[in-house]
């Protein structure tokens, strides 16, 4: 009898457990189903660009073109992993599954292409397509050569000398010198369907209306200066990255107040760069304000070959004079981070520089005294070329006036020479040694330091002096050249980072720039936007967000 009771109890217990597990599974399935039905929606984005970036291949309009068109319609051979924001994005496989440097010759890189990838027009992505695209960008004799797109990638793919097909899905690139920076260069090159180009009668402009890349989105509508509509590529090769939103609408809105009004009135769900003074109000109204450091530097590039900036003590004094916290807190409502080097302190390249540029006017005055400036009868006089606006320039006028005031307090009289952004970039390209810039002490152009080429080679290597590069100051230091070359020829990432950190320490201590702030990449999103991750990057992964219906 007791045994029977025990058996009954055991059966009852099993039934209860079964019921409980069943219920749990049911709840989980229901929750998942609810979650699944929430995904989708139309994500409307207010961009800062005044026109839709070029959609037929390598995008224009700077990194905004890469962010919203390039990485959405196309894929590079290797891509940035933008799915998290805690760490800097890593380079991961894209259209190539793997790659290696030839054991016999380290100027040869072999890329194994992903099989089964199709362009949006249904044709195959293969080695021929890769070669065709490189000819379009680098081979002036090829019928598909496009000088505009070639110009757009000229500063980004500098070491690739030649390319050839090893088999249907293997490509070999040869570089001008042994360079571990190759993946960092290939991450900016997108692949267009050659068949589609033929279909639009070999017209790159016409291709913009009906492009065929391999990316997670397809372009479904393009109205110049008004909108671009993207829809998910349901056959995307990476099933984990099929977009969550049903549609993305990109809207050019160059005016910050227009973007803000459009967000607040519900016309868009996402705006780039909201005005800093609107951020508390946006937060109060329940909008999501995204802020995160990314490779951006708002800086003064100094003319190092003439007084006063040829003196390291004066340059260091200027760096100690800046109240960076004040700029970020009182002027920019917390949308920036004080810059005490080219990269921010949590960055793997920051290293351990001797100079830590906190706001220290007394030290700045002391350094100026050592340099022979007493701050009264003999003050430092310099001019700085600045712009009224521009890509990555944040709020140039009030920021420059703030810095001017900081410098004045320690004995540096800075004359601000204001010109328009386009004119500033043209003068920047000429370099500070050019006769047009002979009277200038420096220029205020913001930069990205996304990868080693952008952060070190183009600014600090002696071979990058204009007209070939952006070493505008110019900064000529054999030790720096040696470190950059060592980093470029080091194929182990950790060791490479250590070398670059050493180079960065020298940059901070030598102070060829006045480091001022890092932008925090502000963007504001409607509370309905879910799933977005703000990476430490100029780019974003638009496959992640969706809009709650």
């Amino acid at each position: 009898m007791a045994g029977m009771l025990n058996r009954c109890e055991a059966v009852t217990h099993e039934v209860l457990v079964g019921l409980f597990v069943g219920l749990l599974v049911l709840i989980l399935c229901w929750t998942a189903a609810m979650g699944a039905t929430e995904r989708g929606g139309t994500l409307r984005i207010g961009m800062t660009a005044a026109d839709i970036p070029y959609t037929g291949g390598q995008p224009d309009q700077g990194f905004e073109g890469f962010r919203f068109i390039g990485y959405q319609l196309y894929d590079p051979l290797v891509r940035w992993d933008l799915s998290q924001g805690e760490q800097l994005p890593a380079i991961v496989p894209g259209l190539s599954e793997s790659w290696e440097v030839s054991k016999d010759d380290n100027t040869k890189w072999i890329f194994h292409l992903r099989r089964g990838v199709k362009f949006h027009d249904g044709t195959d992505f293969n080695a021929d397509a890769v070669l065709w695209n490189w000819d379009a960008l680098k081979n002036k004799d090829a019928p598909q050569y496009d000088p505009t797109q070639a110009g757009l990638i000229s500063a980004r793919a500098t070491v690739i000398k030649s390319w050839r097909k090893l088999d249907e899905y293997t490509v070999e690139f040869t570089t001008t010198r042994p360079s571990s920076f190759v993946p960092y260069q290939l991450v900016y090159v997108f692949y267009v369907s050659p068949t589609q180009w033929e279909k639009v009668r070999r017209d790159w402009r016409a291709l913009a209306n009906s492009p065929a890349g391999t990316g997670p989105f397809k372009l479904t509508r393009l109205v110049p200066r008004e909108r671009a509509e993207l829809e998910p590529n349901r056959d995307y090769w990476d099933k984990k990255r099929v977009p969550m939103a049903d549609k993305v609408v990109l809207l050019p809105m160059p005016e910050a107040t227009t973007r803000l009004a459009a967000l607040r009135s519900g016309q868009v769900d996402w705006i780039e760069v909201p005005p800093p003074d609107a951020i508390p109000g946006l937060r109060q109204a329940g909008f999501q304000v995204m802020l995160r450091p990314y490779p951006h530097n708002w800086t003064y590039t100094l003319a190092l070959a003439r007084p006063p900036w040829d003196n390291k003590l004066v340059r260091q004094a200027a760096n100690y004079a800046i109240d960076r916290e004040g700029i970020c807190k009182s002027l920019l409502n917390g949308t920036c981070l004080p810059a005490i080097g080219e990269v921010y302190p949590s960055h793997p390249w920051f290293g351990n520089p001797k100079q830590r540029y906190e706001h220290n006017p007394a030290k700045a005055k002391e350094l100026l005294q050592q340099a022979g400036y007493d701050g009264k009868g003999k003050r430092v006089k310099a001019s700085m070329l600045i712009s009224t606006s521009g890509s990555g320039q944040m709020l140039p006028l009030p920021m420059n006036e703030f810095v001017q005031e900081n410098l004045r307090e320690v004995g540096i009289d800075l004359e601000l020479v204001t010109i328009e952004w386009n004119a500033l970039t043209q003068r920047g390209r000429q370099g500070l040694q050019h006769p047009d810039n002979a009277q200038l002490g420096g220029m205020n152009i913001s930069y990205n330091f996304q990868e080693p080429q952008s952060a070190f080679v183009r600014f600090f290597h002696s071979t990058s002096v204009p007209p070939v590069g952006a070493n505008r100051m110019p900064y000529l230091n054999p030790e720096m050249d040696r470190l950059i070359e060592a980093a470029e020829s080091e194929f182990d990432l950790d060791k490479q980072n250590q070398i670059l950190a050493k180079a960065h320490e020298i940059i901070v201590d030598d102070a060829p720039w006045v480091f001022i702030v890092h932008d925090l990449n502000p963007r504001a999103l409607s509370p309905k936007v879910k799933g977005f991750v703000q990476p430490q990057s100029w780019f974003v992964d638009l496959t992640l967000p969706w809009v709650e219906k």
């Binding site: 110009g151 757009l152 980004r156 049903d246 050019p252 227009t258 009004a261 868009v268 004119a423 952008s454």
Partner: protein, 316 residues
């Protein structure tokens, strides 16, 4: 009359040539260049030079101008440097968008201006005169981009009644003329303020001038109805107001750079603004040439209409 029209049209040719020459010179005198705008700021100078050479910007300025002019005479405005789209395509769509906005703003501004100006004149010195005159001065004096921002804050952000930007719905819902009309309301109000103010003042002055003439006194002495007198007065006061309306419509067609930028309205003002920042010479020159042609034609049209309204002009 036909001889007059042909003469005026022929006179328009040197005017247009002069306009293109001034625009061309000013654009090339200003610092910056289209290739710099097109390429990333870190693109090397040697690449910029190479593309400049490929696009023919290294040639002497008179040669560049002559090449452009010979193409224009053949009806080809060229391609945009920044977008590579045919300039005529961009102008067509932008001008179409500006035209509907200008027409709406003209209808609103001219109707209000004509009515308020006439009412102010007929009630000279009374409260209505003072009120309408104050409205006219306000319309002329207020910066319309500021009014545009104010309208957006009140009607889009706070009340959420009307869209803040664009000319179509931003989402996936279907867009038709109803949507365009909704999007037009705020920019139309902002844009109509200046023509309203200008026309009010001109209509008031013109009606007052006619009212002071002897023939009006004669009409009154003859005991005509006030409606008949008003008709005579308005008809006689119309020519200068019509001329001004023509000019104002020309300005509106030119597109307001500021209002179109604030509302992200993809019209000719927005296109011009973009072309200036990108130093996109073909777009800039093409747009200004087309707008100047419109202006010349509008002036001619106004003169012809005037000659129908006022027989004295026809006789001269």
């Amino acid at each position: 009359m036909w001889g007059y029209i042909v003469r005026r049209l022929l006179l328009g040719i040197p005017t247009l040539l002069g306009v293109t020459l001034i625009v061309f010179s000013l654009m090339h005198l200003a610092p910056g260049d289209p290739i710099s705008a097109m390429l990333p700021p870190d693109a090397p100078q040697e690449v910029v030079q190479m593309i400049r050479q490929q696009m023919g910007f290294d040639r002497p300025l008179p040669v560049q101008y002559w090449l452009w002019l010979t193409r224009v005479v053949q009806g080809d405005l060229g391609r945009s440097i920044a977008t590579r789209r045919p300039v005529i395509q961009d102008i067509r769509s932008a001008l179409g968008n500006t035209f509907i906005l200008a027409l709406a703003a003209a209808c609103l501004g001219f109707t209000l201006g004509g009515t308020l100006g006439s009412l102010a004149a007929f009630s000279r010195g009374r409260w209505a005169d003072k009120m309408f005159s104050a409205a006219a001065i306000t319309g002329v004096s207020l910066p319309h981009y500021w009014v545009a921002i104010l309208l957006i804050i009140i009607f889009s952000v706070e009340l959420n009644w009307l869209p803040a930007m664009g000319m179509q719905s931003t989402g996936s819902e279907s867009s038709g003329w109803g949507e365009v009309a909704r999007h037009m309301i705020l920019p139309t109000i902002a844009l109509a303020l200046i023509p309203m103010g200008v026309i009010t003042r001109m209509a008031r002055a013109s009606v007052l001038e006619i009212l002071s003439q002897e023939f009006v006194m004669t009409l009154r002495a003859k005991g005509l109805w006030s409606r008949t007198i008003t008709r005579h007065v308005v008809k006689n006061a119309a020519p200068p107001v019509l001329t001004l309306m023509g000019l104002q419509f020309g300005y509106l067609l030119g597109g307001s750079v500021l209002v179109e930028t604030v509302f992200s309205w993809p019209g000719s003002g927005y296109l011009l603004n973009l072309a200036i920042f990108q130093r996109d010479f073909p777009v800039l020159q093409g747009t200004i040439l087309v707008l100047a042609s419109f202006f010349v034609m509008l002036n001619l049209l106004v003169d012809i209409v005037q000659s129908f309204v006022d027989p004295r002009i026809r006789r001269t």
